[in-house]
């Protein structure tokens, strides 16, 4: 994992001092509310329904145990003792006091953490696959490239006041896309060309929110050394020509659509031709230097613990279920990837207490070289667990509430904070998630259904990614009452698709029934092992409509 050198440390310290200065000027009335707004947003500070909200950056989801412990301490000392993992792999505090924020940032800076550019109209945290570096199917570890992008985008002097926020995601697996790159402003898919050279396929103009779009490809192959100059060209075209007259039309997706992907690509290429060979062009040495931080941990030379696991599974059905669902295969023999699920029924998805943060830190130290990754599904990954320690680990996390064996199933809901916390909400989202989780509490039935993404947002800002859920739920306001619109067929993977709206919306108490009917149609129509999405694609939306609105 990346570790700051003296340059990063100096920049981080100067940032803390700068924000302290800005906060003091704001509190002294030297900055108007309007003027302070973008400054605090660029530091992750929203002012919300109940209190300010501080979004802390977790670059591409990686955290060390000391950072988790510090987060625990900060939530205890300055907040109500819990934090929230977000769908962009960050961590959010819901109740800090404005005047404490500079001190919180100073505490975070001591463990190389910050809240830079986690909000506001600038380049946000770059996200990636939570299994990077440990999965079997991977072209190359994408994290060094994310770190390179992080450094380039941090306080970029030209791009601090873009028309709108800007998100980049990188994926390096050919088969899966856990980073949802096609619904990002820029999605970078790592590829090798025919000559075996490494590079990126560049998608631009994806995004959710009010106008959901899958990002078209604007370049099939970008050699890796050209990464930053090309990003700079895309951002410059966007900064100059993106709409600024209407906030709802200001994302890059609107510009790409207006110019057509081809027209947009031509503008980028023309700009890039000027700066391609500028000093911003990466060097092999610079990439290798960053790659040096992402070397393998000191793995033991092990064999796969196949027999041991088989007998443990045989003896314990719950362990068996957990192993099948929450544990993934690892590139090293004898190791496994464990996902700690933060989706226990009754707790808001993604919420963690200070004690839980400390428990996770402890688990990381004991079982996974002191590191964890936050996932965009709001779970936490221990990436390097010895197979012969899985049973012991499972026994420890079961009472902590991290072993709900529902990863990727219907009840592994992605859910935004919604009306309980968020000033923009049309409707509550957490109670809907909970009522569905309660309705589908039969594990065997759940497993039989296979992987289904259920995503819930409390309004069209789409923090809960409802458009790309196989089943999406969106809170809407109907004459002051909370209703829910359902969409089907969305996907955030390589086959990225925006879901189709089923029809008129439903009252909250009807939601579990509605979902149950949708599931019934699937069960009645599926062929053998066919997943929900494939059945939907084969039979279309009509049979679902007929059943639900019968």
């Amino acid at each position: 994992m990346y570790v700051y050198d003296e340059h990063d440390r100096q920049i981080a310290a100067e940032r803390v001092a700068q924000f302290r200065d800005q906060t003091e000027r704001a509190l002294a009335g030297e900055l108007s509310e309007d003027e302070f707004l973008p400054l605090r947003l660029q530091n992750g500070l929203y002012v919300q329904r109940l209190a300010p909200m501080l979004r802390i950056c977790v670059p591409y989801g990686m955290l060390r145990s000391e950072q988790l412990r510090r987060l625990a301490r900060v939530t205890r000392d300055y907040d109500k003792g819990y934090a929230h993992f977000t769908t962009r792999q960050n961590v959010q505090l819901n109740w800090p006091a404005l005047e404490d924020v500079p001190d919180i940032l100073a505490e975070l800076a001591e463990v190389e953490m910050h809240a830079n550019q986690t909000s506001g109209n600038c380049i946000r945290n770059t996200t990636t696959d939570q299994f990077s570096g440990v999965q079997v199917d991977e072209i190359v570890d994408p994290r060094p490239y994310c770190e390179i992008i992080r450094q380039w985008s941090t306080f970029h002097p030209e791009f601090a006041f873009l028309p709108r926020k800007f998100k980049v995601a990188v994926n390096a697996s050919e088969k899966t896309d856990r980073a949802a790159i096609q619904v990002h402003d820029i999605g970078l898919q790592m590829v090798r060309n025919d000559q075996g050279e490494l590079g990126f396929r560049v998608h631009v103009g994806g995004g959710l929110g009010r106008t959901p779009m899958v990002g078209p490809v604007i370049r099939d192959f970008l050699p890796e050394l050209d990464l930053l100059t090309y990003l700079e060209a895309v951002l410059r075209v966007y900064n100059r020509y993106g709409r600024r007259d209407n906030k709802f039309k200001a994302r890059i997706k609107i510009l790409v659509k207006a110019l057509t992907p081809k027209g947009f690509a031509e503008k980028v290429e023309a700009e890039w031709a000027h700066i391609k060979d500028s000093p911003t062009r990466l060097t092999r040495e610079a990439i290798e230097r960053i790659q040096g931080y992402f070397t393998e941990p000191a793995y033991d030379a092990l064999e796969n613990a196949t027999e041991l696991l088989a007998s443990q599974r045989f003896d314990n059905r719950q362990f068996d279920q957990w192993l099948s669902h929450n544990v993934d295969s690892h590139k090293k023999p004898g190791y496994a990837i464990v996902t700690l699920t933060m989706k226990k029924t009754g707790t808001p998805p993604g919420d963690v207490s200070d004690t839980q943060l400390e428990q996770i830190a402890e688990l990381a130290d004991q079982y996974s070289f002191g590191e964890v990754r936050v996932t965009h599904q709001q779970n936490v990954v221990l990436a390097d667990v010895r197979q012969d320690q899985l049973f012991e680990l499972w026994q420890r996390i079961e009472p902590m509430g991290f072993a709900t064996a529902n990863l990727n199933t219907l009840t592994d809901v992605i859910c935004c904070p919604g009306g309980d916390y968020c000033a923009l909400a049309n409707a509550k989202s957490i109670p809907v998630a909970e009522s569905i989780q309660r309705r589908f509490d039969d594990k065997d039935f759940l497993y039989d259904l296979g992987d289904i993404d259920l995503n819930i947002s409390g309004c069209m800002n789409a923090c809960g990614h409802h458009h790309v859920g196989n089943i999406g739920v969106l809170g809407v306001d109907k004459k002051g009452e909370e209703f829910y619109q359902v969409s089907l067929g969305g996907s955030s993977h390589h086959d990225a698709t925006i879901g189709k709206i089923l029809g008129p919306s439903f009252a909250q108490e009807d939601m579990p029934d509605v979902i149950a009917k949708i599931i019934d149609v699937y069960v009645d129509n599926r062929k053998e092992e066919e997943p929900f999405l494939e059945t939907y694609r084969r039979i279309g939306i009509e049979p679902f409509k007929e059943r639900v609105y019968a």
């Binding site: 200065d21 003027e35 380039w152 030209e158 410059r236 100059r240 600024r244 911003t280 610079a286």
Partner: protein, 167 residues
């Protein structure tokens, strides 16, 4: 424009005025003092201004600096307007003027120029800043130097941090 901030944070007095774009049907009214006129109008009447060191131009944030390619250095001063501080187009305009068109003389930020933009402006090639009047100019020196270095190459340095680390 009585006071402007310079790159080192000091305050200088000067008498450049910004001449607004004339309304349709009106003609450009150039005052008896150093004046900044809309860039396209200068270009259109360039021969009249030949050799004058008291005529400069200004761009608005939606203007295209490309129109002055090849002639930028005939101007003693170019200003770029920030109609609102949240409008970041001026940063790209500045970099293009400096890095692409090789502009050598003074480049000034005008309009909604606040303290917290100054260091970004400096990095993008502005060397004078008409700080909005209600802001405290004595704090400019600090705001220009919140950071002692940046990660990227920009107009102020063509060596990004990854190249400095290598050496």
């Amino acid at each position: 424009m009585p006071e402007v901030i310079t790159k080192d944070g000091s305050i200088k007095q000067d008498s450049w005025v910004v001449v607004p774009r004339p309304e349709d049907g009106e003609s450009l009214n150039i005052p008896e003092q150093p004046a900044l006129i809309p860039a396209d109008l200068w270009l259109a009447g360039k021969e009249h201004f030949e050799g004058r060191d008291d005529i400069g131009v200004w761009f608005d944030s939606h203007d295209e600096p490309e129109i002055l390619e090849g002639v930028v250095n005939e101007l003693p001063l170019i200003a770029v307007n920030f109609p609102k501080f949240a409008d970041g187009r001026g940063y790209s305009i500045a970099r293009l003027l400096r890095e692409r068109f090789g502009y050598q003389h003074e480049l000034r930020a005008i309009g909604d120029v606040l303290l917290d933009q100054l260091q970004f402006m400096k990095r993008c090639g502005f060397d004078s800043y008409a700080l909005r009047e209600d802001k405290d100019a004595s704090k400019a020196a600090r705001a220009l130097n919140f950071f002692s270095q940046g990660y990227q190459a920009a107009t102020d340095t063509d060596v990004p941090l990854f190249r400095r680390r290598a050496s």
